[in-house]
């Protein structure tokens, strides 16, 4: 066979991607993240401590009457939002997990995801109309004779909770559904065959298995909730200031850019603390399993 050139073996298709190719493929995202997330994050902290004042602005955010009130309102409201959105989301996600009826699944997914498809203004305006003095809720209560005059539903913390929870229920549903998806419903049958009531089987089997996912979902909702801007303005008005509103006021009305940066940094640190706290509480392994 001397003299016959063997044809070069066709290179087999390799599924793996080398480190250089991998980095190149991810480059646009990495550059984008560095420019639009990394740089602003660093500059927030630099701005907040600009002019040689290392801690003064942070102290101001936490002690200044106006900003303190905004911070507390934000945190209090967000905690309630977490409870409401998780409860609603869990009921929806669990039903989606266990039902075998197609029409019900389609209906529930639609209900759960509609807030995703609506614009921020449309969503908030819809709730604004619902809650207004001559809106359907007051109308119904008046009609039924349960109240004598229209209730002040708008411009309250409750209105903000409704607005934010409505926006965040899809996040709760999706993350909880992901957590529930891995729970074999046969386990609940096993529990019931062993003598547990339905509720008891849910509490002793489903809940422990979903705990990590539920905690992750709550953290997600909380972190998103503390950054809400439009909803508190439209539904809360001046009586219930939110941190995001405060920050915007500092920038556009008071031209206090370093002060705004300090407020934003505080909010960011709270978010990081909550996520870190959840990680520590449920353990990284459980959380990783829940997010997988």
């Amino acid at each position: 066979m001397r003299g016959v050139t063997t044809p070069r073996a066709a290179r087999p298709w390799d599924q793996r991607v080398g480190p250089v190719t991998g980095l190149l493929m991810a480059a646009p995202l990495i550059i984008g993240l560095a420019l639009f997330v990394g740089y602003p994050l660093v500059s927030i902290f630099l701005d907040a401590s600009s002019g040689g004042d290392l801690t003064g602005r942070y102290t101001d955010v936490l002690t200044n009457e106006v900003s303190r009130r905004a911070l507390l309102t934000t945190l209090r409201t967000s905690v309630v939002v977490v409870v409401v959105a998780t409860a609603l989301g869990a009921a929806l996600a669990w039903t989606l997990h266990v039902t075998e009826r197609r029409w019900l699944r389609v209906l529930l997914w639609t209900v759960a995801l509609v807030p995703f498809w609506l614009g921020v203004i449309v969503k908030n305006y819809a709730i604004y109309l619902m809650l207004s003095a001559n809106g359907p809720i007051n109308g119904l209560l008046l009609e039924l004779g349960l109240i004598d005059g229209p209730l002040n539903l708008l411009y309250t913390e409750t209105a903000i909770v409704i607005g934010i929870a409505y926006s965040l229920v899809p996040y709760a549903v999706l993350s909880l559904y992901a957590a529930f998806m891995h729970i074999d419903t046969e386990l609940l049958n096993a529990g019931q065959a062993l003598g547990a009531s339905r509720t008891r089987a849910l509490a002793t089997i489903a809940f422990p298995l979903a705990r990590g996912g539920v905690a992750a979902s709550m953290a997600l909702v909380f972190v998103l909730s503390i950054g809400f801007y439009v909803t508190p303005i439209l539904l809360g008005g001046a009586q219930t200031p939110f941190m995001a509103t405060q920050i915007s006021q500092r920038i556009f009305n008071l031209y206090d850019y370093p002060g705004a940066a300090a407020s934003a940094a505080v909010l960011l640190l709270i978010a990081v603390a909550v996520v870190g706290g959840v990680l520590a509480l449920v353990g990284g392994r459980t959380l990783r399993k829940a997010l997988r």
Partner: protein, 370 residues
């Protein structure tokens, strides 16, 4: 069984429909206390649905379910006092072996000490002593299976339901666990309803075998009787793996019917068989008759007195002492199986023309369909 003792399970007219699909139709079955009954059927025959109806995970469309004399149709699974072993074990992944076994005892409010004693006893009896603190995922399939059985037996339910518990295991392990289940049944005296699609499992385990086909119960008979004297062609081929030759004219035909029995012509010879005792359902018309014979009773070459059956060898598997022949016979949809001593098939090869011998004493005349 004393006069006052109720049957462990009494199903009558049990029917379950899912929307337009019937899963179990008009089923009657009575199980005596302490009996081990296998429900054998192909997938989709309704056997799992039957078990889930008894367990209470499904509600019957019509019919009644009585467990130890008590009507349970309206009771939740928790109130039915049963133990259940699931197809994929359904062990609680977040609980240790000990806590898994203990679960039912906790739900029944046993105190700590009693629970601990009972769990220790079960761990010993199921040979799981060293595994009490492991999580299910740290166990092998066979160990998980033993935990599932221990969990189902923990509070000594009188009735245990098993849904294809050995389906996912390999053969050697299966043998072991079958022995284990037989031992448990003997020692605990529990009534067991065992669902499987594996006829060997059913054969080696049970007192009686209930065969399900297309949502219906075909028969429920002691296992040896069922194997040796199948009531119809379906059971003969499904359970006894017998060759079933319908009397459709070619190669076998019904030529006469008299008081002495039915005269059948096969391969140019005639033989009179006693008519099958079990008649077809009245008014349903002639169910059609068939001859059945197990592969082990077919001779590779026809001897004197045998009914001859000519065909072509289409497959030949050498198994050592025996040879498994498959012979295509004109007029038959499925090849005839013969399991014959290797010596009698010496020199035989695929494509050869052969005349099999069917000894009349081993041939059985029975209704072709249930």
């Amino acid at each position: 069984m004393t006069q006052t003792e109720h049957p462990a399970v009494e199903l009558s007219g049990l029917t379950k429909r899912f929307g337009g699909v019937t899963a179990v139709s008009d089923l009657d079955l009575t199980v005596r206390p302490g009996e081990l009954i296998s429900i054998l059927g192909a997938s989709g025959s309704g056997k799992t649905t039957l078990l889930r109806l008894v367990a209470g995970f499904e509600t019957p469309t019509t019919g009644s379910i009585r467990l130890h004399g008590r009507e349970v149709a309206s009771l939740s699974p928790a109130e039915r006092e049963i133990g259940m072993v699931f197809q994929n074990y359904a062990l609680f992944p977040h609980l240790s072996v000990r806590r898994n076994i203990e679960y039912g005892l906790r739900m029944r409010g046993w105190d700590r000490q009693r629970r601990a004693e009972r769990v220790t006893e079960l761990l010993a009896r199921m040979r799981l002593e060293k595994l009490g603190d492991r999580l299910p995922r740290q166990l092998s399939g066979g160990q998980q299976q033993r935990v599932a059985i221990a969990r189902a037996l923990a509070y000594s339910p009188r009735l245990v339901l098993m849904d294809e518990p050995l389906g996912a295991l390999d053969k050697a392990l299966k043998e072991n666990l079958l022995a284990e289940i037989r031992r448990v049944h003997r020692e605990f005296g529990t009534t067991i309803l065992y669902v499987t699609h594996d006829r060997e499992e059913a054969m080696s385990l049970s007192d009686r075998v209930a065969i399900m086909r297309d949502t219906r119960l075909v028969c429920c008979t002691p296992v040896r009787e069922l194997y040796l004297d199948p009531p119809n062609g379906y059971v003969a081929s499904f359970f006894s793996q017998a060759n079933v030759i319908p009397l459709g004219g070619e190669p076998a035909a019904l030529v006469g019917h008299g008081p002495s029995g039915a005269e059948v012509a096969l391969g140019g010879r005639k033989h009179t068989f006693p008519s099958p005792t079990r008649a077809g359902s009245p008014g349903a018309g002639d169910p059609g008759l068939a001859l059945a014979i197990r592969p082990g009773q077919v001779r590779a070459a026809a001897a004197d007195g045998d009914l001859p059956l000519a065909g072509t060898v289409s497959d030949l598997v050498f198994l050592g002492d025996t040879v498994h022949l498959r012979v295509t016979v004109p007029g038959l949809a499925t090849p005839v199986s013969a399991l014959t001593p290797a010596d009698s098939a010496r020199g035989m090869a695929v494509g050869d023309e052969v005349t099999l011998g069917l000894p009349p004493e081993h041939l059985r005349l029975l209704p072709e369909h249930p």
